[in-house]
Subunit: 455 residues, 2 copies
């Protein structure tokens, strides 16, 4: 292991206790010592576990740039509380340390009144200009995601002059991947890999060494999700952003896009689990309740509708109560199959493995899968019921209903998200509790109709 | 928009038709023209839609490095079929064009016999050595993920000499982010940002300009998922990998890690949806069936167990068939709540928002959420049943059972994944169909016991 590097940081209860002890004895130097080699992302994890008072004590001991990095790594709810406790002057000081995209995000979270005050307190007028520009864009677009820190070179400049020019830009740019090349109107015309800058003869022209074919870029209005798809697909670590006239206005880096990729995947998973708002285990009880109640009420209404369906067959149940035994089996299986098939479609749409072609081939495939699984399950359930019960009519009813339910639930689970997607509605809405509820009611209906036919 | 760049590529039916037409008229030049400015990732999307014969025709028209890039971008199943149709000589030629990590992945997919033959056909002995070394590591570790292409500099060298040295290494390295600095034993001692190399005086020593504090790195044995977490958390685009003695042996780049982050999130979603293998809409019917059957059978056994529970209360149902009406409501709500609470825990564990602390505070919180949602749903269901039915005992039974089920299902959904995680079992196994099935049976039991008490 590198001698100079400590083992990777792990947040332990012991470490938190040490920190708390230092806080309560008011020892700033002890805190500085404990956090000396700790990355801001890890310091943020520590602050997430502290009370506001404790967190502020730690925060005050951090140097300026580490303080602002830590601030941006806090969990949203913790950051909001934290910022409310800072004065506008203090916020302005932090913002001067930040990359422009983080600065704009932070200011965007403030009330309009506070925004104005904070902006007035920022001393560096260039930062003010950048932040105000970034605040104009929709947060879910490339414009809302980009930063103003990037290397820019003129196409008609010599490489040697470019190096001198770039040295001036270098100070405020943390990470460098490529240099974006513009023409005299500031329009993006090429990309110069850093490699070229290092290994090329200083006398060559930038335009001779740059890549100008097939440059990947986003427009300010390109949606977030498309930016993420593009960077993921083409393995890009940074993407230039141009305005409506083709002028270079910003850069998006992969770290911000990784967050989007993760959020998108998490969101689909949450919708499939019946959670309608982005919640985390740390979210407040109220927020958790609010995010979960809508689907529970829909599920409940589905249950009441199901009760209506069953009540139509009251006579049959009174005559033959065993019919009621298999109600949960039928509804559970319909639900499971629907969730499976809709999850495959929603993931396929999100990952673009479903690309073109109509609905029909997908339904045909789902029908084949449903037929195989349905026959296996039906034969099994008939076999089991044959062994444990005399009532072979019941076994036949259950197994035929099960086969039908598996088939129809699979088709419903496939068609519903595809249709939603066609009408530009988020297909993930069709997963989880929604498809389960629909299939419950449908399954009950099929079960009793088949029961009526057989008995 | 940059004049030199075409609009972003979109896969259309028309484009595929044009390609197919060119294939069937045997016009290689037409295909070359159509695919001239198309990125290998997009060409792979085209090939994914073609028959094997058509795909091979296109593939033969691609220059060497575009061909190998395209090959690595194909969907797994398509690539497997494709590779089977290539001779070992052809595979060896492709491998010589690839980055070492891709080369090792591709060879790893072959049978042992083919592996030996392909390796013998590779002319560049350095590549052979690198690939054989990479094949030694577990696929799911940093060693299995890393590549051998990276920039390396000596700590005691001058920056000017380093530039000369790096120029020799530059040819085979596609993307450059940082230069890893080693001591005389090849041990990793620091990282030199590319920025420093460009803007630093040529006479300074590498060791004076490098970062040596707190370098982030992985060991060859570090699990994939930890690598992904680290790179995501610390916003890294590349991570050096060291062996057990601390010697620098490879580098992991963010593009490979983005794939892992995505796969992990997709996998949790699939498990929650009752899909036990990684399937896509394009997967074969057999694979889809196989991935879905295990959970369906578990669900079915749960349904049969549920039938056993209900059959214990045959007498009550015969006397009062209306009791059967609300069976689906109770099971559905137990399922929904269980899925919600387990999803929050599983996501919290995956995203590390659940960090430390015991199970008890989480259960307490879930109980509070369940109590609020449960009371709202129970009051609603009692109100509705009061309005539509004379049987107030039934309404009381359903609403009390509902409250109890919501509470217990939420606690089950919270505790089960936490317990699994404690015993190092994947908590995602506790989501979806599993928790639904358990809660179905439990819910039925609660419902009838309460029914028995009230009537």
């Amino acid at each position: 292991m590198p001698k100079t590097s400590q083992v990777q940081f792990k947040l332990t209860k012991e470490f938190l206790d040490e920190i708390r002890e230092a806080i309560h004895s008011g020892s700033e130097s002890q805190i500085e010592l404990l956090l000396k080699d700790v990355h801001p992302a890890d310091i943020a994890d520590v602050l997430d576990q502290m009370t506001l008072e404790e967190a502020k004590f730690i925060y005050k001991t951090l140097e300026d740039d580490r303080a602002s990095d830590t601030l941006m790594e806090l969990e949203d709810e913790v950051r909001n509380r934290f910022i409310k406790s800072l004065s506008n002057k203090e916020i302005a000081e932090q913002i001067e340390q930040m990359d422009s995209d983080d600065a704009a995000d932070l200011i965007g979270e403030l009330s309009e009144e506070d925004q104005e005050e904070v902006i007035q307190q920022i001393e560096d007028k260039e930062i003010v200009e950048e932040v105000i520009d970034l605040l104009n864009y929709d947060e879910d677009s490339a414009g809302g995601l980009m930063q103003k820190e990037y290397f820019k070179a003129k196409a008609d400049a010599k490489v040697s002059d470019t190096v001198v020019e770039l040295r001036k830009q270098a100070e405020e740019i943390k990470s460098v991947y490529s240099i974006y090349v513009v023409d005299e109107d500031d329009k993006l015309v090429g990309v110069l890999p850093l490699k070229q800058l290092i290994f090329t003869s200083p006398n060559s022209l930038v335009s001779d060494k740059m890549i100008s074919q097939n440059i990947k870029y986003a427009k300010v209005s390109t949606p977030n999700v498309e930016v993420a798809d593009m960077m993921e697909k083409y393995d890009l670590v940074a993407l230039p952003v141009v305005d409506i006239a083709g002028k270079l206005v910003g850069r998006i880096t992969i770290d911000d896009v990784v967050d989007i990729i993760k959020e998108e995947a998490d969101r689909d998973y949450q919708l499939a689990s019946g959670i309608s708002e982005n919640v985390e285990p740390t979210s407040s009880i109220l927020k958790q309740t609010r995010s979960r109640l809508p689907w529970l009420i829909i599920g409940m209404l589905g249950g009441i509708l199901g009760a209506q369906v069953i009540s139509q067959y009251e006579g049959e149940i009174a005559l033959n109560p065993a019919l009621a035994y298999f109600i949960p089996l039928i509804t559970a299986m319909g639900g499971n199959v629907g969730v499976q098939s809709s999850a495959i479609v929603v993931q396929g749409l999100a990952n673009h493995t479903i690309k073109i072609g109509g609905i029909f081939p997908k339904v045909a495939k789902e029908t084949a899968v449903g037929l195989i699984n349905g026959i296996i399950c039906s034969v099994l359930v008939f076999g089991i019921s044959y062994l444990i019960s005399e009532d072979h009519q019941l076994g036949l009813t259950v197994s035929l209903a099960l086969l039908t339910v598996i088939l129809i639930a699979g088709i419903m689970g496939t068609v519903t998200p595809l249709m939603l997607n066609k009408f530009k509605i988020d297909p993930a809405l069709a997963t989880g509790p929604f498809i389960t509820t629909v299939n419950d009611v449908l399954g009950l209906f099929i079960y009793f109709v088949i029961g009526l036919l057989i008995y």
